[in-house]
Amino acid sequence: MGSRATVPAWAVQAYGKWQKRRTAWLATGICVAVASLICAPLLMIPGGSMMDGAEMRQILSPILGEGKGFAVWHLIPVYPTIGHFYRLLIESPAFYHLFWNTVGMTAAILLGQLAVGLPSAWAFAAFRFRGRDFLFGLYVVLMLLPFQVMLLPQYIVLQKLHLYNHQTAVILPAVFSTFPVFIMYRGFTQIETEVLEAARLDGAGELQIFFHIGLPLGKMGIQAAMVLSFLEYWNLVEQPMAFLEEQAAWPLSLYLPQITISQAGVAFAVAVMVLIPALFVFALGQDALEEGIAYIGVKA
């Protein structure tokens, strides 16, 4: 205490500021470094999407078992070409078909999850009923079950419901997935039970509580769930492969599920095209997330 007193207040303040800024810079630096590390391999994608097939073959020939030495990668192709994009964007209507399939399916899934998962999550968060813990545990376990095991019984169910080979065969199970419930539940648990009690005492209906307290407060959980769900379903491979026989119903992720070297360029181009909407969704989702947080801040 005494030592502190010797330091002038402005100095303390300045030091604190400086320290704060330094920490901020440091944090930023670290984060940027990590982010760039994470993104570094992805830089191969735009490069690859514009790389001439011959060049790619040449620089990758060691990997293909056709040469000695080590493979290299040109982040900026020596012989750049927009051939792959041309092939993909101009010459492949199938790409668009699948793209819209994916968009449609993902949108349907996300909306469905909102409609179904949100109340479920709310129920788990807001009510304490018998078996809640067990049920919730079950939800978690069901979420964790590998798809391989669920493939067969789900197939049987879908077959029985005459959904097999129809996009709903992918959409419906996804809609009822326990995963968003799980995440959104976490968002709702932040709400203090007292608030709910108080609201109930005030005579608010359950729906009112849900809409006026639950939704705004759980918003970031919802947003997180949506962004994550989007990621999950934007690149869904296994379910459609198992449940959709008809190619016309496929999502984009099955366009090139396996890549041979000759297709690599196009595959990279596809990746770029897939990444663009994802970027938008991230940005917008986060935006909404921010907003939600800000909103909560204001409310609180």
Partner: protein
């Protein structure tokens, strides 16, 4: 700031989606515009009119020969096998010196022979004349004798008559009577004797005349023989004739400056002489006379065989001539790997032609599946593209599928195909505006 960037983001996102939407249509359009456009038809049940064309040779049925000028030396041969000859075409020339030498020799022989013959003839004529004269003289002599005797006979007859008038009276004595009677008897005897004499002379005359006549005849015969040369005998005569003919020939030849010309039109089949050769009496040249008949021969493949039958009407043309004939096939014989078709031509047809082209419009049996020949491809086998619907990423699309088929028959326009899977309502691609590949999506 915050909302603005958010707005921007939303706008960007919307823009991206709209761009994707537009591109969807653009790529569709590109895709469709690059899709081959095909036309199709169902296979028909039809027969195929197959035009079978086969080149063949024209062969003469019987060849004729030009006999060489025996013993003459060929100076130049003017034709070769395969040449066409018209009447008057120079076939070859003989050595004129040789020719003239031979001719003069022959003429000398002939002259000698003529002279000899004339002498013979003259002698025979003399003999005849003499015999005639003998004969005539004999006739005159004998006639004179006959006339003499006849006169004597008549005198006797008159004497007899007179005697008869001097017939004694009835009462004449016996002697008279006897004398008269005796007289009369004498007369009778004398007349009879005379008559016998005349007869004898006449017999003799006949005899003499016959002999004279024979002699005359002999002489005459000899004469005529001499004149006709009969006495040379058959070989002699032919020799003479030959010589004479030969002389005439050689003369004619020399008149033609030693050129031997064709007598009729035809084509040379074979030349069996060469210049400098002395010809024999056998053929030096064989040729097919235009007036003769010919056979058209050609070989057809095993595939064509089922379409060609004995008795089928075919069109024959001969390169180089405007002739076009319809004939029926006479025979089809299997020969080493192919089938030889023979067609006998009318005499005079295809004169001067060695090659011909046979055309046969064969109408096949009715095949179940006939497609335009354009629809047929060959990719290591005969195949057609059939139009099918395919489930793809873009939904149901039309696509072509290659179908291997057996080719039964075809002509320039149509092909008959077979396969267990063919049906009448299969859609066979007949036309396309670019190269197709199996499984390629197409538009109608």
């Amino acid at each position: 700031m915050q909302t603005e960037s958010k707005k921007k983001l939303w706008r960007g996102f919307a823009l991206f989606m709209v761009a994707m939407l537009i591109m969807t249509y653009v790529s569709r359009m590109v895709y469709v515009s690059r899709m081959p456009r095909v036309k199709w038809s169902n296979p028909m049940s039809a027969s195929i009119r197959n035009k079978i064309t086969a080149e063949g040779t024209v062969e003469a049925v019987n060849a004729q020969a030009v006999i060489g000028m025996d013993g003459l030396l060929v100076e130049t041969v003017c034709v070769a096998a395969g040449d066409r000859m018209e009447a008057g075409t120079v076939l070859y020339e003989v050595n004129r010196e040789d020719l003239l030498a031979q001719l003069s020799q022959l003429e000398a022989q002939e002259q000698a022979w003529q002279n000899q013959e004339q002498a013979k003839r003259r002698e025979a004529a003399t003999n005849t004349t003499r015999a005639q004269e003998d004969y005539d003289m004999d006739v005159i002599e004998l006639d004179r004798r006959i006339a003499e005797e006849t006169k004597k006979l008549e005198e006797l007859m008159e004497d007899l008559d007179t005697h008869m008038f001097r017939i004694p009276e009835e009462d004449a004595s016996d002697e008279i009577w006897i004398a008269w009677a005796d007289e009369r008897l004498r007369f009778d005897r004398e007349i009879a004797e005379k008559k016998r004499m005349i007869e004898d002379i006449q017999l003799e005359k006949e005899k003499i005349l016959r002999q004279a006549d024979r002699e005359l005849e002999d002489a005459r015969r000899a004469q005529s023989a001499a004149e006709s040369g009969l006495e040379l005998g058959a070989s002699g005569i032919s020799q003479v004739r030959e010589r004479q003919e030969r002389i005439a020939l050689l003369k004619e030849l020399s008149g033609n400056e030693g050129k031997v010309r064709a007598k009729s039109a035809g084509e040379i089949l074979e030349v069996m002489m060469q210049s400098g050769m002395r010809m024999g009496a056998d053929a030096v040249l064989r040729y097919a006379d235009d007036g003769g008949s010919r056979i058209f021969c050609t070989v057809i493949t095993q595939e064509q065989k089922p379409l060609v039958h004995t008795g089928d009407m075919v069109q024959l043309t001969f390169p180089g001539s405007a002739e076009e004939v319809s004939e029926t096939i006479d025979s089809i014989v299997q020969e080493n790997g192919g089938y030889t078709v023979k067609i006998r031509l009318e005499p005079g047809v295809a004169a001067g032609r060695f090659e011909g082209v046979m055309e046969l419009n064969a109408t096949s049996e009715i095949y179940d599946f006939v497609v335009p020949v354009k629809a047929l491809r060959n990719d290591g086998g005969n195949a057609i593209y059939v139009l099918e619907e395919k489930e793809g990423i873009l939904g149901t699309e039309l696509c072509v599928r290659s179908m291997t088929v057996r080719l039964l028959d075809k002509n320039e326009e149509y092909a008959a195909i077979a396969d267990e899977l063919l049906t009448g309502d299969i859609k066979v691609v007949t036309e396309c505006d670019r190269e197709l590949e199996n499984g390629m999506a197409v538009k109608e």
